[in-house]
Amino acid sequence: MKMRWLVLVMLAILATVAAGCGTAGDDNVIKIGNAVALTGDNSTWGQAEKNALEMEIEKINAKGGVLGKKLQLVAYDTRADATEGVNVTKRLVSDKVAGIIGPGQSGVAIAMSSVAEPAKVPFIATSATNPKVTVDDKTNKVRKYAFRTCFIDPFQGTVAAQFAAKELKATTAAIVYDVGSDYSAWLGKYFTAEFEKQGGKIVANEAFRSGELDYRAILGKIKGTNPEVIFIPTMQKEAALVMKQAADLGIKTKFVGGDGWGSPDLLTLGGSAVEGSYFVNLASMDDPDIQNFIKEYQEKYKADPIMPNPVMAIDALYALVDAMNKTNSADPVKIAEQLEKTKDLPVLSGKLTIDPNTHDPLNKPAIIQEVKDGKFIFKSKFVTQ
């Protein structure tokens, strides 16, 4: 008797699933994929990214959609994990999306390429800043289906180093980086190269493994070298802990970081220890160009959009919509070909031009933010030289 119930329940579940599949082939919608970290360490950005995309797509649909069809966002969680990223891409490909927005992490994006390239579905990374995301480092050729709307790490590292050398007038620097993260390790290297070019000296270069909680051992070592600046190219959690523990050890230097810092978590976790630190970011809440977007977002979700992913994702959405309009189709292959030709497209963060040789945006400005009175303050703007 029990067995029969079980079979019935199973059949019911199967029927629901089958019914769900039936609606998948709806001809009146164009699906836009979103590979995004909705849980895990990067979820604060990921959730804001998804919210922003949903809000923007609602607006586009209200105005009649694209090519006479409604857009539909299909967002799956990557947990900022490379393996999950591959699974998510496979699912999105089988969902027949026109293109994918995201991911935000370089490691995930590089892994995703292994699916997106053979499937011929383009993805536009939001905040994946490693050069290898769009250019295959083995063949040195651009990946045909990989794009991004953010600047890349060599530029970011250069900006951070120039800022430390010129504006902070530092001549010695120490680096604390995460050896388990491509983003962190390479950003440290780009920083080193430019800082030395500026005549500075790297006095300590200390690595830790992802997930580390206690940095006091390496900070004790750095304290002895007495650097004027400590560069911490990590995510907000690690950076906050490093600065907090540096304060515990009585280290009094300036701290500089990359776009991984740009989360309110940095402030809540770091408290007074992060006051007076600086970091490079992709977008800022103070940017006058995006005030309308911020207002709409705040009204809809009763919270601030966590920068920079929402802005980068909306830029990507505009690029996709533009490519669809110009090719008059939702075919991923045609969209990818058109994306490469994107030039002076008005997007949220300014004007977007994609370099066909690298698939990176050209002339993307970098913003330096300062942590002051528990807030991120706009400090200065750098543009690629």
Binding site: E212, Y215, L241, S272
Partner: protein, 290 residues
């Protein structure tokens, strides 16, 4: 730098020791490693954080609440995940698998309900520093070490002198025989889990204050587990020594070699030690109960 490293190492080791004692306590009775322990520690930290930040109770009450909450959760964990297995005389491998399942369940439960955000305790609790002769140590570290030792000593006293403690020690030698002599095994095991849970509450609170509160914070118990094995699983003094030893060693490796090879080092130490002393530093030879 040498003394600073030593002090830092002891502070880290103190928390390892506290967690290792919790592991050893359960192992000494049921002869399996309670891998759900890390999740109980994590929940203890969330309880403490909630009491302090949302309910606005004073710190000592928040610590008390965290201890009580984690103890109850640990007891609940035993009643739901292990007691049925125990009644069926399941081999300890099944206990371990059940523990892993519980651990993954609890972690994901927190992800699904509370979310994956990081929480930090207010700074007043964590900012004060002592400094003497160029060596600085956080107030919290001193407090953690002192409190850990008081808790561990209290536990030791309880085990040596109370009726329940004697029952626990008897059961840890032989459950069947002590049962024949009138020890209520279910109640004794309940006590063990309550005590281990209380230690989890303290460790969770200190870990949360020192670093932050987040769903996967319980993973640090892997280290406590190694500490317990180094000291000899099932031996309480062994757990303390193992914890301190591991904390100090790790800090020295991070400071003088590289923090990248720190874990390579801790795990190699474990392997080498087990080759030389299969039962750890203070362990008795225990046969697997099948």
């Amino acid at each position: 730098m040498f003394i600073q490293t030593l002090v830092t190492g002891l502070a880290i080791g103190g928390i390892y020791a506290l967690m290792a004692v919790g592991y050893s306590l359960v192992f000494s009775i049921l002869n399996f490693s309670n891998f759900a322990y890390g999740s109980i520690i994590m929940l203890g930290a969330y309880i403490g954080y909630y009491l302090l930040m949302e309910m606005g109770v004073p710190v000592y009450l928040a610590i008390g609440g965290s201890i009580a909450g984690a103890a109850l959760l640990c007891l609940l964990n035993e009643r739901l995940a292990y007691s049925t297995l125990r009644k069926r005389n399941a081999p300890s491998l099944y206990f371990m698998i059940s523990a892993m399942g519980t651990s993954i369940f609890l972690e994901n439960f927190v992800y699904a309900t509370i979310g994956s955000r990081f929480y930090a305790f207010p700074e007043v609790l964590t900012q004060q520093n002592f400094s003497f002769g160029g060596v600085s140590i956080g107030m919290l570290d001193v407090f953690a070490i002192v409190f850990s030792f008081i808790a561990i000593y209290g536990l030791h006293y309880f085990l040596q002198n109370s009726r329940t403690g004697i029952a626990i020690r008897a059961a840890s030698y032989d459950m069947q025989v002590s049962q024949l002599n009138g020890v209520n095994i279910a109640r004794t095991i309940g006590w063990v889990f309550l005590l281990a849970g209380a230690l989890a509450g303290i460790s969770g609170m200190f870990l949360g204050m020192k670093y932050m509160v987040y769903p996967t914070m319980g993973w640090i118990t892997n280290k406590a587990y190694i500490a317990a094995v180094i000291g000899g699983l099932g031996s309480l003094p062994g757990a303390v020594v193992g914890g301190l030893l591991l904390g100090v060693l790790e800090t020295f490796v991070s400071a003088y070699v590289s923090s990248v090879v720190r874990d390579v080092f801790s795990f190699s130490l474990l392997v080498v030690l087990l080759l030389v002393l299969p039962t750890g530093l203070f362990g008795k030879f225990l046969e697997e109960k099948v």
